[in-house]
Symmetry: C2
Subunit: 108 residues, 2 copies
């Protein structure tokens, strides 16, 4: 559930989103995207949490920005992004960041 | 619930954690830390989600790394960090990252 990321540096994509109340089939698409992301070159890990308010935070980790951009451009992912805007998300923020420090506790 | 962060660049502190089953008084300390963080110089916003498995993701946003480090060094926060390691968290990962791109959807 917590990604054991490699040595620095690498890239984090922070996706914070609020689901619409009528977001049908969201789970199916979200699971498929996680499966697909794991197969991408440069994928380092993912952490994803959603609470009972429908607020979700997914952070995916990538070897570099090129790997994150390549994942953004995958056709099936682009279709999912479109569905996200049209049917799933009320609001979201997407941030791409360069990780510069990391610390682990408890045998992650 | 989703932070309307300012123009780039700024710093994200990504804290992913798994609560112990016996984490007493965690909510009280966590709420107090959110209150205290909001009062810190350079605080830009926070997004926090925890699910029914006890997995939590909190991303706080800061003007720069100095502001994030100053928050880390606040005495009451240091005491909370110690409690975290001794009583609250089974495991955690903490990452400090420089945000280089951002996009918003749906009137965040």
């Amino acid at each position: 559930m917590i990604a054991r990321t490699p040595d620095l540096p690498y890239v984090a994509v922070i996706f914070t989103n609020l689901l619409r109340a009528d977001a049908l089939d969201y789970e199916v698409v979200a699971e498929r995207m996680l499966t697909l992301a794991r197969l991408q070159p440069g994928f380092l890990g993912v952490e994803s949490v959603r609470d009972e308010r429908g607020l979700g935070l997914t952070v995916s980790y990538w070897k570099d920005e090129a790997a994150a951009l390549a994942w953004k451009a995958v056709a099936e992912h682009r279709e999912a992004q479109r569905l996200g805007r049209e049917r799933f998300y009320a609001t979201y923020a997407l941030r791409v960041a360069r990780v510069e420090r990391q610390a682990f506790f408890g045998g992650v």
